[in-house]
């Protein structure tokens, strides 16, 4: 049975939501073979699927494992698609420096945030875990990102605010220390 292009876009999105990595890759391959623009495959297939995952996660319809499985399916689709979008001349919508602060080596929350950001075409400079203030500052100076994001289960996040040194930097923190507020933004100069 021959699927229409519309059906294939929908299938890519749905398979991604259900975490069927192989099928996502196959849908993307088929859409490429049919000459669909890579940008359209990304937006109408993969990103659309990941947006739905984000909404269902927000509404407690699915949970962390389902999000991780979907994110891996997204990566599988991206691996097929990437060679075709490398040279489209478009830049990422922005850059984020991301890390878990010194004194903490947990990374599940940080990685989830990274996956969500990357699905939105944000370039993430992931510094990993147990990241010192000096390393954050160095990365911010090196990359000049719009956002620095820090995650930690300890109240070290509060101390991480002191890392801010750049005028227009948005700081985003996620921590149990915030009593359930997973992400809170602190703008030095709100825009």
């Amino acid at each position: 049975m021959e699927y229409t292009n519309e059906e294939l876009f929908a299938a890519a999105s749905l398979n991604l939501q259900r975490g069927r990595a192989r099928q996502v890759g196959e849908c993307v391959r088929e859409l490429i073979d049919r000459g669909m623009p890579p940008d359209e495959i990304l937006n109408r297939g993969l990103i659309k699927g990941m947006e739905e995952v984000g909404l269902r996660f927000r509404d407690n319809e699915i949970f962390v494992p389902e999000v991780l499985v979907a994110a891996r399916a997204m990566i599988c689709g991206m691996n097929v698609l990437r060679p075709y979008i490398v040279d489209d001349g478009r830049k990422p919508v922005g850059q984020v420096v991301l890390g878990t602060v010194r004194g903490d080596i947990h990374d599940i929350g940080k990685n989830l945030v990274r996956m969500m950001m990357e699905s939105k075409r944000i370039e993430v400079i992931d510094l990993g875990t147990d990241v010192t203030a000096a390393r954050f500052v160095q990365a911010v100076r090196q990359y000049n990102p719009k956002v620095q994001a820090a995650d930690s289960i300890s109240d070290a996040v509060r101390r991480a605010k002191a890392y801010a040194g750049e005028e227009d930097l948005i700081l985003a923190f996620g921590s149990l220390s915030y009593q359930g507020a997973l992400i809170r933004e602190v703008r030095k100069d709100a825009k």
Binding site: G19, F63, V64, E66, G103, D104, I105, A156, G180
Partner: protein, 358 residues
């Protein structure tokens, strides 16, 4: 009333002379507390427990088998389960945190072949002495880290792989979960036999599974029923065969699983982080009061950051809410953290004795 009698009554949802009291803390703050209370370098942990009125004591067996996992430079390795950690300092103390994951991105054959300790490789000979020493205390076997499928898998393959493999029902992972479960069940059985042989009686089995984030379930009910419930049931059934109840530790927003646990024969739930969604004392009382005993509910996040006066108030409120329904055991929600002022801990335990009397 002895500690044993007190805890037994609480686990049976009855009202003893006062609420049973438990304690758990990080090493650094534990030492600071002992110093502040005048317990010198020669004092034992039991001395502190006596001072605080702690009713609970765990009985265990030390692993004496071969090291199942190689050493790695700069890391500590748990010889039974292959958890690699290193000391991560913070300004108040620190944690042995997990830093190397031997099964990360592993092939199915490697996961299946990952060893689990032989239940015979533990020293059960010290059990008799512990039974004698703690004859009037409430004694338990197991701990919050058993089977703790999510965390124990996370420690060897990283949390991402662990959750993905569980969600996908990865066959090799399931083989390893079963192997580890059987090892733990075997150890519990031998421990309970050793306690019986020593003329003692365990009062309950303690198990754990962190089933919630701060704001939501960690996993779906479908995954819980498919993977976790059958494993957890084995522990409950083993305890039941020795005539003792089971208590499960469940961090975070976990009350979504409690109806299932009641169906499975679970008698008590532990940790009960009041700041997590659907975990407040009032919520727990309304939904599960008189059907489950409660252990915990004094937030370690709050006692680290509140004033001693506010801690007194919040402990009083918690006790006033949960005591009338029966079955409440006063305890911190986690190990008391290193950034907690000792006067706050003192306020917490003073409140337990002041307001926890029936």
């Amino acid at each position: 009333m002895t500690s044993k009698e007190r805890v037994r009554m609480a686990l049976a949802l009855e009202k003893p002379d006062r609420v049973p009291i438990d304690y758990s803390s990080n090493k650094t703050v534990n030492r600071r507390l002992m110093d502040a209370l005048g317990l010198g370098i020669n004092a034992t942990q039991d001395d502190l427990y006596e001072l605080l009125g702690v009713d609970f004591r765990g009985i265990g067996a030390r692993y004496i088998g071969p090291a199942l996992f190689p050493e790695r430079p700069g890391m500590k390795v748990n010889p039974e389960y292959g958890y690699y950690s290193r000391w991560i300092e913070n300004e108040f103390g620190g944690y042995d945190d997990f830093c190397y994951f031997p099964l990360k991105d592993a092939e199915p054959e490697e996961i299946e072949a990952f060893p689990a300790p032989d239940p015979d490789d533990y020293d059960y000979s010290a059990v008799a002495e512990q039974v004698k020493k703690y004859k009037d205390k409430a004694i338990y076997v197991g701990n919050a880290g058993m089977p703790d499928i999510i965390n124990s898998m996370g420690r060897v393959m990283g949390m991402e792989d662990a959750l993905v493999n569980l969600q996908l029902g990865d066959e090799a992972t399931m083989v390893w979960v079963e192997k580890k479960t059987n090892s733990e069940l075997g150890r519990m059985e031998r421990l309970l036999e050793a306690i019986k042989k020593a003329g003692g009686e365990a009062d309950f089995m303690w198990m754990g599974e962190d089933l919630g984030t701060q704001i939501a379930p960690m996993i779906s009910m479908e995954l819980f029923n498919r993977v976790f419930r059958p494993v957890h049931q084995k522990f409950i059934d083993l305890a039941k065969s020795y005539g003792i109840p089971t208590m499960i530790h469940t961090c975070g927003c976990s009350s979504w699983s409690y109806e299932s646990f009641i169906e499975m024969g679970m008698k008590a739930v532990d940790t009960l982080q009041p700041e997590a969604v659907n975990m407040s004392p009032a919520y727990l009382k309304e939904h599960f009061g008189g059907r489950l005993a409660f252990h915990g509910c004094i937030s370690t996040a709050q006692i680290a950051t509140m004033s001693a006066e506010d801690i007194d108030k919040i402990c009083k409120q918690t006790l006033e809410t949960l005591m009338p329904v029966g079955g409440y055991c006063f305890a911190p929600t986690h190990m008391i953290q290193d950034n907690t002022p000792v006067e706050n801990i003192v306020a917490m335990y003073n409140a337990a004795h002041k307001y926890g009397v029936y």
